[in-house]
């Protein structure tokens, strides 16, 4: 049976700041869900809540019918939900191969033997197009390569739901096309579910089956990519009032 990540009416307050105010969403294994919204709308906070980096003030998060919202981050990873960082955080003192091997050995514990994890890590790196960099120190990577490494590490944990925080940001049009092709290919091959937080509309609208729009910590729209971009409320909130007239 397909497992479901279920976020139900989740709130997160930082002192007086209400970063997330009652968001609900579902991501099925194998399904790609886009999460968009203006800057500071609470997207990253929502990902942090799911990943266990922050604890929700109110509301429930469950995975496969089990409440996970009070679990420590590493335990959530162990159960198959892992997150990339908006600003990549590679282990700079390790090679790319070792970076991914850590994810494999500790993620869902599928591979505890270090020599085998190091071997398999190379395959994972090849999958994201970093095959040639396997034995290069991660500190030598460019920003874009670091994002791929971040993606490879999340896959290395064996995650069934990946939470991707702006992995398509800052790419040239060609790079974006390559990255999107890569994502689609890998997603089909592994069949993970994904919650994709993104500013790059093209990426979200092409890749996701379902899109959720949040503004000021509240969900203002959801539906198919087409339906969402045509929603006047979304256009106004996300692109500004003048964009309403320019929309397709």
């Amino acid at each position: 049976m397909t497992r479901v990540l279920d976020v139900a009416d989740v709130h997160k307050y930082f002192g007086g700041v209400r970063a997330v105010q009652g968001v609900s969403l579902k991501v099925q294994e194998g399904q790609v869900v886009g999460l968009i919204g203006p800057n500071g709308s609470g997207k990253t906070t929502l990902l942090n809540l799911i990943a266990g980096v922050e604890k929700p003030t109110k509301g429930a998060i469950s995975w496969d019918g089990q409440r996970i919202d009070r679990w420590p981050a590493h335990r959530i990873v162990g159960q198959g939900i892992a997150k990339t960082h908006q600003i990549p955080k590679p282990f700079l003192t390790m090679t790319c191969r070792e970076n991914v091997a850590v994810a494999m050995m500790f993620g869902n514990h599928a591979q505890r033997e270090s020599s085998k994890a190091l071997e398999e890590a190379a395959h994972m790196l090849a999958l994201v197009g970093l095959g040639r960099k396997a034995d290069v120190m991660s500190s030598k990577l460019t920003v874009q390569e670091r994002k791929r490494l971040e993606f490879a590490r999340v896959l290395g944990t064996g995650a069934r739901i990946v939470l991707l925080d702006e992995i398509f940001a800052g790419l040239s049009p060609e790079e974006l096309r390559d990255a999107m092709n890569l994502f689609e290919r890998v997603q089909k091959e592994i069949g993970f579910g994904a919650l994709v937080v993104e500013h790059v509309m093209r990426a979200v609208l092409t890749l996701s089956e379902h899109v959720i729009v949040i503004e000021e910590g509240m969900k203002i729209a959801e539906g198919s990519p087409r339906a969402v971009v045509e929603d006047p409320a979304v256009i106004e909130a996300y692109l500004g009032t003048e964009a309403v007239h320019a929309a397709p």
Partner: protein
């Protein structure tokens, strides 16, 4: 650990093993005066390796490691002959459980506070000599001392190797590199750190026990913070987190301070302080780390 053929253990471990085996084989013929110096050196090596387990591997600087040494000494003195170390492991788990919640400089301060507090607490406990210490009458047996500390050190070196080469080693390195990223990949950072801290405390306790035995008793001076500083100096000079570093550091710190103790009394800490400052400023990787950094050929051999 699975045995992958003993050759794969690497030259550094072989080198240390050879050094220890030669020491063990010749010990009965070493003059008593030299043997007692050697025993002190092994005690300090054990302490250096113990601090290396937590500070060297994870980067959490502990100023309070003398606590475990002193507890080990008191544990031995309090229950002569039985040599129970599990109270020390328990104490380490307790202290680690609290202090490891802090990071960086706050952890360092917390360990320092614990060390100072512990010495005052022990001074107040009647059963522990009421601040006067406990004098033991267990005779002069340098060979027994030697082989006891030898076994403790050998186990500690092997464990250090095992930890740095296996799965836990990668977890530890990831924590040292970026603790938040490590957690995000499933590393149970709290458990890994606590495991290392407890192990570290256990070996420091073992060294402290032998120290009390050689000193025929235990006195409140066992809590002297200079022990902590010497341990830190050893791993900083030798190379933090390396397999050979603590041993080299122990030789580099202990042998000169032994000479200073008898010749230039009181000067050793001034010299150690200056050396550690210079190393921290100019060669922060220590002796072993610097050799690995500047001579690429050594990377496969030296660790």
């Amino acid at each position: 650990m699975r045995l992958r053929g003993i050759r794969s253990f690497g030259p550094t471990l072989w080198g240390i093993a050879l050094f220890l085996v030669v020491l063990a084989g010749t010990a009965p013929w070493i003059p008593v005066f030299l043997l007692t110096v050697l025993i002190q050196l092994l005690i300090f090596s054990t302490l250096a390796y113990s601090l290396n387990l937590i500070t060297g591997l994870t980067g959490y600087v502990s100023f309070g490691h003398v606590v475990f040494m002193a507890f080990g000494a008191y544990a031995l003195a309090f229950a002569v002959g039985t040599f129970h170390l599990h109270p020390v492991a328990g104490v380490a788990l307790g202290i680690g459980g609290v202090t490891l919640r802090f990071r960086g400089v706050y952890f360092a301060i917390a360990t320092l506070v614990v060390a100072v507090a512990a010495s005052y607490i022990v001074l107040e406990i009647k059963e522990l000599g009421d601040g006067q210490g406990i004098i033991l009458n267990i005779g002069f047996e340098p060979l027994s001392w030697f082989y006891t500390i030898w076994v403790i050190l050998a186990i500690e070196v092997i464990l250090t190797y095992w930890i740095t080469h296996g799965r836990i080693g990668y977890g530890v390195r990831s924590i040292k590199s970026d603790e938040d990223a490590a957690k995000a990949l499933g590393v149970n950072a709290a458990r890994v750190k606590l495991f290392l801290y407890a192990l570290s405390g256990l070996f420091a306790g073992g060294a402290g026990g032998v120290y009390a035995w050689t000193a025929s008793g235990v006195f409140p001076q066992a809590f002297d913070l200079t022990f902590s500083l010497q341990m830190l100096a050893m791993i900083v000079i030798g190379g933090m987190g390396t397999l050979l570093g603590p041993l080299i550091g122990a030789v580099a710190v202990y042998i000169p301070s032994y000479i200073f103790l008898t010749v230039l009394i009181g000067f050793q800490f001034i010299i150690i302080g200056i050396v550690v400052t210079l190393i921290a400023l100019f060669v922060p990787e220590g002796i072993v780390g610097s050799l690995r950094k500047y001579i690429p050929e050594l990377r496969g051999i030296l660790e």
